[in-house]
Amino acid sequence: METYYDPKDLKKFGKITEFQKELGEKYFEYYGAVFEEGALTKREKALIALAVAHTVQCPYCIDAYTQDSMEQGCDEEQMMEAVHVAAAIRGGASLVHGVQMMNKYKDLSM
Protein backbone atom coordinates (compact mmCIF):
# COMPACT_ATOMS: atom_id res chain seq x y z
CA MET A 1 0.00 0.00 0.00
CA GLU A 2 1.38 3.39 -0.96
CA THR A 3 1.48 5.97 1.83
CA TYR A 4 2.98 9.41 2.28
CA TYR A 5 5.36 8.07 4.92
CA ASP A 6 7.67 5.13 4.09
CA PRO A 7 10.03 3.92 6.90
CA LYS A 8 12.68 3.19 4.24
CA ASP A 9 12.84 6.92 3.41
CA LEU A 10 14.57 7.60 6.72
CA LYS A 11 17.74 5.95 5.39
CA LYS A 12 17.58 8.29 2.36
CA PHE A 13 17.61 11.45 4.49
CA GLY A 14 21.24 12.12 3.55
CA LYS A 15 20.24 12.25 -0.10
CA ILE A 16 18.60 15.67 0.27
CA THR A 17 22.04 16.99 -0.72
CA GLU A 18 21.40 15.75 -4.27
CA PHE A 19 19.11 18.73 -4.92
CA GLN A 20 21.05 21.34 -2.89
CA LYS A 21 24.54 20.18 -1.96
CA GLU A 22 25.92 23.16 -0.08
CA LEU A 23 22.97 23.84 2.21
CA GLY A 24 22.40 20.10 2.78
CA GLU A 25 26.00 19.53 3.79
CA LYS A 26 25.98 22.57 6.06
CA TYR A 27 22.83 21.27 7.71
CA PHE A 28 24.28 17.78 8.34
CA GLU A 29 27.51 19.22 9.69
CA TYR A 30 25.49 21.37 12.10
CA TYR A 31 23.22 18.40 12.95
CA GLY A 32 26.22 16.21 13.79
CA ALA A 33 27.76 18.91 15.98
CA VAL A 34 24.50 19.46 17.87
CA PHE A 35 24.35 15.83 18.97
CA GLU A 36 27.95 15.60 20.12
CA GLU A 37 28.57 15.40 23.87
CA GLY A 38 28.69 18.97 25.21
CA ALA A 39 27.24 20.77 28.20
CA LEU A 40 24.47 18.17 27.80
CA THR A 41 25.22 14.47 27.52
CA LYS A 42 24.36 12.48 24.39
CA ARG A 43 21.73 10.73 26.46
CA GLU A 44 20.08 13.99 27.55
CA LYS A 45 20.09 15.18 23.94
CA ALA A 46 18.51 11.93 22.75
CA LEU A 47 15.64 12.33 25.23
CA ILE A 48 15.11 15.98 24.23
CA ALA A 49 15.06 14.92 20.57
CA LEU A 50 12.59 12.16 21.40
CA ALA A 51 10.25 14.64 23.11
CA VAL A 52 10.53 17.14 20.25
CA ALA A 53 9.92 14.34 17.72
CA HIS A 54 6.57 13.73 19.40
CA THR A 55 5.76 17.43 19.50
CA VAL A 56 6.41 17.90 15.77
CA GLN A 57 4.84 14.44 15.21
CA CYS A 58 7.55 13.33 12.80
CA PRO A 59 7.37 9.52 12.37
CA TYR A 60 10.93 9.35 11.04
CA CYS A 61 12.23 11.28 14.05
CA ILE A 62 10.23 9.07 16.45
CA ASP A 63 11.77 5.91 14.92
CA ALA A 64 15.25 7.43 14.92
CA TYR A 65 15.19 8.82 18.47
CA THR A 66 13.47 5.81 20.00
CA GLN A 67 16.42 3.76 18.78
CA ASP A 68 18.94 6.45 19.73
CA SER A 69 17.49 6.76 23.25
CA MET A 70 17.77 2.97 23.66
CA GLU A 71 21.36 3.09 22.41
CA GLN A 72 22.09 5.78 24.97
CA GLY A 73 20.93 3.42 27.74
CA CYS A 74 17.43 4.82 28.39
CA ASP A 75 14.61 2.50 29.41
CA GLU A 76 10.95 2.63 28.47
CA GLU A 77 9.92 4.50 31.63
CA GLN A 78 12.42 7.32 31.03
CA MET A 79 11.41 7.56 27.38
CA MET A 80 7.69 7.76 28.16
CA GLU A 81 8.39 10.45 30.77
CA ALA A 82 10.11 12.45 28.01
CA VAL A 83 6.99 12.09 25.85
CA HIS A 84 4.87 13.29 28.80
CA VAL A 85 7.09 16.35 29.10
CA ALA A 86 6.33 17.09 25.43
CA ALA A 87 2.62 16.48 26.02
CA ALA A 88 2.57 18.68 29.12
CA ILE A 89 4.20 21.61 27.32
CA ARG A 90 1.99 21.11 24.31
CA GLY A 91 -1.17 20.96 26.46
CA GLY A 92 0.05 23.88 28.53
CA ALA A 93 0.63 25.93 25.40
CA SER A 94 -3.08 25.60 24.60
CA LEU A 95 -4.26 26.14 28.14
CA VAL A 96 -2.12 29.20 28.86
CA HIS A 97 -3.91 30.90 25.96
CA GLY A 98 -7.01 30.45 28.08
CA VAL A 99 -5.79 33.50 29.97
CA GLN A 100 -5.97 35.51 26.74
CA MET A 101 -9.47 34.20 26.21
CA MET A 102 -10.41 35.17 29.77
CA ASN A 103 -8.94 38.66 29.31
CA LYS A 104 -10.89 39.18 26.10
CA TYR A 105 -14.03 37.75 27.67
CA LYS A 106 -13.77 40.22 30.52
CA ASP A 107 -13.07 43.12 28.11
CA LEU A 108 -16.26 42.34 26.25
CA SER A 109 -18.43 41.71 29.27
CA MET A 110 -20.37 44.14 31.47
Partner: protein, 349 residues
Protein backbone atom coordinates in the same frame (compact mmCIF):
# COMPACT_ATOMS: atom_id res chain seq x y z
CA UNK B 1 6.88 -11.74 16.00
CA UNK B 2 6.59 -15.52 15.92
CA UNK B 3 6.68 -17.16 19.36
CA UNK B 4 10.10 -18.00 20.75
CA UNK B 5 10.24 -20.73 23.40
CA UNK B 6 12.44 -19.48 26.18
CA UNK B 7 12.49 -22.22 28.80
CA UNK B 8 14.55 -24.82 26.91
CA UNK B 9 17.55 -24.61 24.62
CA UNK B 10 17.24 -24.32 20.84
CA UNK B 11 19.08 -27.62 20.61
CA UNK B 12 16.43 -29.44 22.68
CA UNK B 13 13.75 -27.86 20.51
CA UNK B 14 15.47 -29.15 17.36
CA UNK B 15 15.52 -25.52 16.17
CA UNK B 16 17.51 -24.73 13.00
CA UNK B 17 19.30 -21.93 14.86
CA UNK B 18 21.10 -24.50 16.99
CA UNK B 19 22.89 -25.68 13.82
CA UNK B 20 26.17 -23.84 13.07
CA UNK B 21 25.91 -24.55 9.32
CA UNK B 22 22.43 -23.03 9.14
CA UNK B 23 23.56 -19.93 11.04
CA UNK B 24 26.67 -19.44 8.90
CA UNK B 25 24.70 -19.79 5.68
CA UNK B 26 22.20 -17.20 6.90
CA UNK B 27 24.98 -14.81 7.96
CA UNK B 28 26.74 -15.14 4.63
CA UNK B 29 23.62 -14.66 2.53
CA UNK B 30 22.61 -11.21 3.80
CA UNK B 31 24.22 -9.49 0.80
CA UNK B 32 26.35 -7.14 2.90
CA UNK B 33 30.04 -6.25 2.61
CA UNK B 34 31.99 -9.29 3.78
CA UNK B 35 34.00 -9.00 6.98
CA UNK B 36 37.01 -10.17 5.02
CA UNK B 37 36.63 -7.21 2.62
CA UNK B 38 36.34 -4.78 5.55
CA UNK B 39 39.51 -6.21 7.13
CA UNK B 40 41.25 -6.11 3.77
CA UNK B 41 40.42 -2.42 3.30
CA UNK B 42 41.84 -1.75 6.78
CA UNK B 43 45.05 -3.61 5.91
CA UNK B 44 44.25 -6.31 8.49
CA UNK B 45 43.64 -9.32 6.25
CA UNK B 46 44.79 -12.05 6.73
CA UNK B 47 43.80 -11.54 10.35
CA UNK B 48 46.66 -12.57 12.61
CA UNK B 49 46.91 -13.12 16.35
CA UNK B 50 49.16 -10.97 18.52
CA UNK B 51 50.67 -12.32 21.73
CA UNK B 52 48.53 -14.84 23.60
CA UNK B 53 47.42 -13.16 26.84
CA UNK B 54 44.18 -14.87 27.81
CA UNK B 55 43.20 -18.53 27.83
CA UNK B 56 39.41 -18.62 27.96
CA UNK B 57 38.06 -22.02 28.99
CA UNK B 58 34.43 -22.98 28.55
CA UNK B 59 33.56 -25.46 31.29
CA UNK B 60 30.29 -26.49 29.70
CA UNK B 61 26.93 -25.46 28.34
CA UNK B 62 24.94 -26.33 31.45
CA UNK B 63 23.37 -23.27 33.08
CA UNK B 64 20.63 -22.49 35.61
CA UNK B 65 19.31 -19.76 33.28
CA UNK B 66 17.98 -19.73 29.72
CA UNK B 67 18.74 -16.17 28.56
CA UNK B 68 17.07 -15.01 25.37
CA UNK B 69 20.25 -13.70 23.77
CA UNK B 70 22.65 -16.50 24.81
CA UNK B 71 25.15 -17.33 22.07
CA UNK B 72 26.01 -20.59 23.85
CA UNK B 73 22.37 -21.78 23.80
CA UNK B 74 23.04 -22.75 27.41
CA UNK B 75 20.46 -24.04 29.87
CA UNK B 76 19.64 -26.71 32.45
CA UNK B 77 18.97 -29.19 29.64
CA UNK B 78 22.48 -28.91 28.16
CA UNK B 79 24.66 -31.76 29.39
CA UNK B 80 27.94 -30.91 27.63
CA UNK B 81 30.51 -30.27 30.38
CA UNK B 82 34.30 -30.44 30.55
CA UNK B 83 35.75 -33.59 32.09
CA UNK B 84 38.56 -33.60 34.66
CA UNK B 85 40.78 -35.24 32.04
CA UNK B 86 40.35 -32.23 29.71
CA UNK B 87 40.87 -29.89 32.68
CA UNK B 88 44.20 -31.60 33.34
CA UNK B 89 45.15 -30.96 29.70
CA UNK B 90 44.14 -27.29 30.15
CA UNK B 91 46.30 -27.07 33.28
CA UNK B 92 49.27 -28.47 31.39
CA UNK B 93 48.73 -25.96 28.57
CA UNK B 94 48.36 -23.06 31.02
CA UNK B 95 51.62 -24.08 32.74
CA UNK B 96 53.44 -24.04 29.41
CA UNK B 97 52.00 -20.72 28.29
CA UNK B 98 53.06 -17.15 29.03
CA UNK B 99 49.41 -16.04 29.09
CA UNK B 100 48.66 -13.93 32.16
CA UNK B 101 44.94 -14.66 32.53
CA UNK B 102 42.71 -17.73 32.71
CA UNK B 103 39.09 -16.84 31.98
CA UNK B 104 36.48 -19.44 33.00
CA UNK B 105 33.12 -19.32 31.32
CA UNK B 106 30.12 -21.51 30.44
CA UNK B 107 27.12 -21.97 30.81
CA UNK B 108 27.40 -21.47 34.52
CA UNK B 109 30.97 -22.72 35.08
CA UNK B 110 30.17 -23.38 38.74
CA UNK B 111 27.77 -26.18 37.70
CA UNK B 112 30.68 -28.29 36.49
CA UNK B 113 31.27 -30.78 39.38
CA UNK B 114 35.06 -30.28 39.05
CA UNK B 115 34.86 -26.47 39.02
CA UNK B 116 36.28 -25.90 42.53
CA UNK B 117 39.04 -28.47 42.09
CA UNK B 118 40.00 -26.84 38.78
CA UNK B 119 40.10 -23.33 40.29
CA UNK B 120 42.26 -24.58 43.16
CA UNK B 121 44.70 -26.19 40.72
CA UNK B 122 44.78 -23.07 38.53
CA UNK B 123 45.44 -20.89 41.59
CA UNK B 124 48.88 -22.43 42.02
CA UNK B 125 49.96 -21.14 38.58
CA UNK B 126 50.11 -17.52 39.74
CA UNK B 127 47.97 -16.21 36.90
CA UNK B 128 44.92 -13.97 37.13
CA UNK B 129 41.74 -16.05 37.21
CA UNK B 130 38.44 -14.66 35.93
CA UNK B 131 35.13 -16.44 36.50
CA UNK B 132 32.12 -15.37 34.44
CA UNK B 133 29.52 -15.80 37.16
CA UNK B 134 25.88 -15.20 36.29
CA UNK B 135 25.16 -14.12 39.93
CA UNK B 136 21.94 -16.14 40.30
CA UNK B 137 23.90 -19.39 40.61
CA UNK B 138 25.04 -18.19 44.06
CA UNK B 139 21.46 -18.24 45.35
CA UNK B 140 20.18 -21.08 43.13
CA UNK B 141 20.96 -23.84 45.61
CA UNK B 142 22.39 -24.07 49.12
CA UNK B 143 25.50 -25.83 47.80
CA UNK B 144 26.46 -22.61 45.99
CA UNK B 145 25.82 -20.18 48.88
CA UNK B 146 29.50 -20.24 49.92
CA UNK B 147 30.77 -19.29 46.44
CA UNK B 148 31.54 -15.68 47.51
CA UNK B 149 33.92 -17.02 50.20
CA UNK B 150 35.43 -19.48 47.72
CA UNK B 151 36.02 -16.73 45.15
CA UNK B 152 37.54 -14.51 47.83
CA UNK B 153 39.87 -17.27 49.05
CA UNK B 154 41.32 -17.67 45.55
CA UNK B 155 41.22 -13.95 44.70
CA UNK B 156 39.03 -14.64 41.66
CA UNK B 157 38.03 -11.68 39.50
CA UNK B 158 34.32 -11.88 38.74
CA UNK B 159 32.57 -10.76 35.58
CA UNK B 160 28.79 -10.83 35.90
CA UNK B 161 25.97 -9.98 33.56
CA UNK B 162 23.41 -7.43 34.69
CA UNK B 163 21.86 -5.91 31.58
CA UNK B 164 20.12 -3.08 33.43
CA UNK B 165 19.66 -1.50 36.82
CA UNK B 166 15.96 -2.31 36.89
CA UNK B 167 13.97 -5.55 36.85
CA UNK B 168 11.97 -5.02 33.65
CA UNK B 169 14.80 -5.05 31.12
CA UNK B 170 16.90 -7.58 33.07
CA UNK B 171 14.11 -10.13 33.47
CA UNK B 172 12.97 -9.66 29.85
CA UNK B 173 16.39 -10.85 28.72
CA UNK B 174 17.50 -13.25 31.44
CA UNK B 175 14.26 -14.68 32.83
CA UNK B 176 11.57 -13.89 35.39
CA UNK B 177 12.97 -13.06 38.82
CA UNK B 178 16.62 -12.90 37.68
CA UNK B 179 17.05 -9.25 38.66
CA UNK B 180 15.94 -9.77 42.27
CA UNK B 181 18.18 -12.86 42.62
CA UNK B 182 21.12 -10.99 41.04
CA UNK B 183 20.73 -8.17 43.57
CA UNK B 184 20.62 -10.71 46.42
CA UNK B 185 23.81 -12.37 45.09
CA UNK B 186 25.58 -9.02 44.67
CA UNK B 187 24.79 -8.19 48.30
CA UNK B 188 26.45 -11.47 49.34
CA UNK B 189 29.49 -10.64 47.21
CA UNK B 190 29.72 -7.08 48.58
CA UNK B 191 29.48 -8.53 52.10
CA UNK B 192 32.75 -10.47 51.65
CA UNK B 193 34.44 -7.44 50.07
CA UNK B 194 33.79 -7.73 46.31
CA UNK B 195 33.50 -4.27 44.75
CA UNK B 196 34.55 -2.62 48.01
CA UNK B 197 37.33 -0.06 47.63
CA UNK B 198 40.65 -1.25 49.03
CA UNK B 199 39.60 -4.92 49.26
CA UNK B 200 41.38 -5.90 46.06
CA UNK B 201 38.38 -8.07 45.20
CA UNK B 202 37.04 -7.17 41.76
CA UNK B 203 33.55 -7.61 40.40
CA UNK B 204 32.86 -6.13 36.98
CA UNK B 205 29.35 -6.03 35.56
CA UNK B 206 28.36 -6.61 31.95
CA UNK B 207 25.68 -4.65 30.13
CA UNK B 208 24.38 -5.92 26.83
CA UNK B 209 21.40 -4.43 24.98
CA UNK B 210 18.07 -6.11 25.62
CA UNK B 211 17.08 -5.96 21.97
CA UNK B 212 18.18 -5.14 18.43
CA UNK B 213 20.26 -2.06 19.14
CA UNK B 214 23.86 -1.18 19.94
CA UNK B 215 25.21 -0.51 23.44
CA UNK B 216 25.65 3.03 24.83
CA UNK B 217 28.89 4.72 25.74
CA UNK B 218 30.45 2.49 28.41
CA UNK B 219 31.72 5.30 30.65
CA UNK B 220 28.40 7.17 30.76
CA UNK B 221 26.48 3.96 31.39
CA UNK B 222 28.85 2.93 34.19
CA UNK B 223 28.09 6.25 35.92
CA UNK B 224 24.35 5.54 35.70
CA UNK B 225 24.71 1.95 36.91
CA UNK B 226 26.87 2.99 39.87
CA UNK B 227 24.53 5.76 40.88
CA UNK B 228 21.33 3.69 40.54
CA UNK B 229 22.61 0.48 42.12
CA UNK B 230 24.17 2.37 45.00
CA UNK B 231 21.15 4.61 45.66
CA UNK B 232 18.46 1.96 45.34
CA UNK B 233 20.17 -1.16 46.63
CA UNK B 234 23.38 0.01 48.32
CA UNK B 235 25.43 -2.12 45.88
CA UNK B 236 29.04 -1.68 44.82
CA UNK B 237 30.95 -2.90 41.78
CA UNK B 238 34.18 -1.96 39.99
CA UNK B 239 33.70 -1.50 36.24
CA UNK B 240 30.92 -1.87 33.74
CA UNK B 241 31.62 -3.59 30.42
CA UNK B 242 29.27 -2.65 27.57
CA UNK B 243 29.06 -5.57 25.15
CA UNK B 244 27.41 -5.82 21.74
CA UNK B 245 25.09 -8.77 21.07
CA UNK B 246 26.55 -10.94 18.33
CA UNK B 247 24.23 -12.47 15.74
CA UNK B 248 24.79 -16.04 16.88
CA UNK B 249 22.41 -18.73 18.19
CA UNK B 250 19.49 -17.37 20.27
CA UNK B 251 20.14 -13.71 19.48
CA UNK B 252 20.26 -14.53 15.77
CA UNK B 253 17.00 -16.45 16.18
CA UNK B 254 15.47 -13.42 17.92
CA UNK B 255 16.68 -11.04 15.18
CA UNK B 256 15.10 -13.14 12.45
CA UNK B 257 11.85 -13.83 14.35
CA UNK B 258 11.41 -10.13 15.20
CA UNK B 259 12.18 -9.03 11.63
CA UNK B 260 15.18 -7.02 12.85
CA UNK B 261 17.88 -9.18 11.27
CA UNK B 262 18.70 -7.17 8.16
CA UNK B 263 18.60 -3.76 9.84
CA UNK B 264 20.77 -4.99 12.72
CA UNK B 265 23.39 -6.52 10.41
CA UNK B 266 23.42 -3.36 8.30
CA UNK B 267 23.94 -1.31 11.45
CA UNK B 268 26.88 -3.50 12.51
CA UNK B 269 28.46 -3.32 9.05
CA UNK B 270 28.00 0.47 8.81
CA UNK B 271 29.51 0.88 12.28
CA UNK B 272 32.66 -1.14 11.37
CA UNK B 273 35.62 0.49 13.08
CA UNK B 274 39.12 -0.54 11.92
CA UNK B 275 40.60 0.42 15.31
CA UNK B 276 38.16 -1.93 17.03
CA UNK B 277 39.13 -4.63 14.53
CA UNK B 278 42.82 -4.13 15.29
CA UNK B 279 42.02 -4.51 19.01
CA UNK B 280 39.66 -7.50 18.68
CA UNK B 281 39.91 -10.00 21.52
CA UNK B 282 40.47 -12.97 19.21
CA UNK B 283 43.97 -11.60 18.58
CA UNK B 284 45.18 -12.11 22.17
CA UNK B 285 42.76 -14.79 23.40
CA UNK B 286 42.46 -18.51 22.80
CA UNK B 287 39.14 -20.21 23.47
CA UNK B 288 38.93 -23.80 24.71
CA UNK B 289 35.66 -25.70 24.23
CA UNK B 290 34.12 -28.04 26.82
CA UNK B 291 35.54 -30.98 24.82
CA UNK B 292 39.03 -29.46 24.60
CA UNK B 293 38.91 -28.22 21.00
CA UNK B 294 40.45 -24.82 20.30
CA UNK B 295 38.86 -21.74 18.74
CA UNK B 296 39.76 -18.10 18.13
CA UNK B 297 36.88 -16.97 20.37
CA UNK B 298 33.81 -18.23 22.23
CA UNK B 299 31.54 -17.18 19.32
CA UNK B 300 33.58 -19.22 16.83
CA UNK B 301 33.34 -22.07 19.33
CA UNK B 302 29.53 -21.97 19.22
CA UNK B 303 29.65 -21.82 15.40
CA UNK B 304 32.08 -24.76 15.45
CA UNK B 305 34.72 -22.80 13.53
CA UNK B 306 37.81 -24.56 14.84
CA UNK B 307 41.28 -23.08 14.94
CA UNK B 308 42.97 -22.93 11.51
CA UNK B 309 45.91 -24.98 12.68
CA UNK B 310 46.98 -28.60 12.89
CA UNK B 311 46.95 -28.09 16.69
CA UNK B 312 43.20 -28.10 17.17
CA UNK B 313 42.98 -29.64 20.64
CA UNK B 314 44.27 -28.43 24.00
CA UNK B 315 46.18 -31.71 24.45
CA UNK B 316 48.32 -30.68 21.47
CA UNK B 317 48.66 -27.06 22.64
CA UNK B 318 51.83 -25.35 21.49
CA UNK B 319 51.87 -21.57 21.73
CA UNK B 320 54.48 -21.09 19.04
CA UNK B 321 52.84 -23.49 16.60
CA UNK B 322 49.52 -21.62 16.67
CA UNK B 323 50.98 -18.11 16.73
CA UNK B 324 51.17 -17.80 12.96
CA UNK B 325 47.67 -19.07 12.20
CA UNK B 326 45.00 -17.06 10.40
CA UNK B 327 42.07 -16.14 12.64
CA UNK B 328 38.85 -17.71 11.31
CA UNK B 329 36.33 -15.00 10.44
CA UNK B 330 32.75 -14.68 9.21
CA UNK B 331 29.99 -12.07 9.20
CA UNK B 332 29.26 -12.41 12.95
CA UNK B 333 32.68 -10.82 13.58
CA UNK B 334 31.15 -7.41 12.79
CA UNK B 335 29.64 -7.60 16.30
CA UNK B 336 33.09 -7.12 17.84
CA UNK B 337 34.15 -4.30 15.51
CA UNK B 338 31.11 -2.00 15.59
CA UNK B 339 31.51 1.48 17.07
CA UNK B 340 33.68 1.39 20.17
CA UNK B 341 34.25 -2.34 19.71
CA UNK B 342 33.16 -5.21 21.92
CA UNK B 343 34.98 -7.94 23.78
CA UNK B 344 34.66 -10.06 26.91
CA UNK B 345 36.29 -7.08 28.64
CA UNK B 346 33.93 -4.45 27.22
CA UNK B 347 34.76 -1.83 24.61
CA UNK B 348 38.11 -2.00 22.83
CA UNK B 349 38.53 1.56 21.52
Amino acid sequence: MSEIKTHISLKSQGNDFSEPTYQLQLLQSAGLTTFQDSLDRSGLFPFKPTKLEILQINLGKMCNQVCKHCHVDAGPDRKEIMTRETMLECLEAAKNSDCHTIDLTGGAPEMNPDFRWFVEELSSLGKKIIVRCNLTIIVANQKYHDLPEFYKKHNIELVSSLPYYSAGKTDAQRGEGVFAKSIEAMKMLNAVGYGVEGSGLIINLVYNPSGAFLPPDQTALERDFKSRLSRQYGLLFNNLFAITNLPVSRFLNYLVASDNYHDYMEKLVNAYNPVAAANAMCRNTLSVGWDGFLYDCDFNQMLELKLASDRQHIRNFNEEAISNRNIVISQHCYGCTAGSGSSCGGTTV
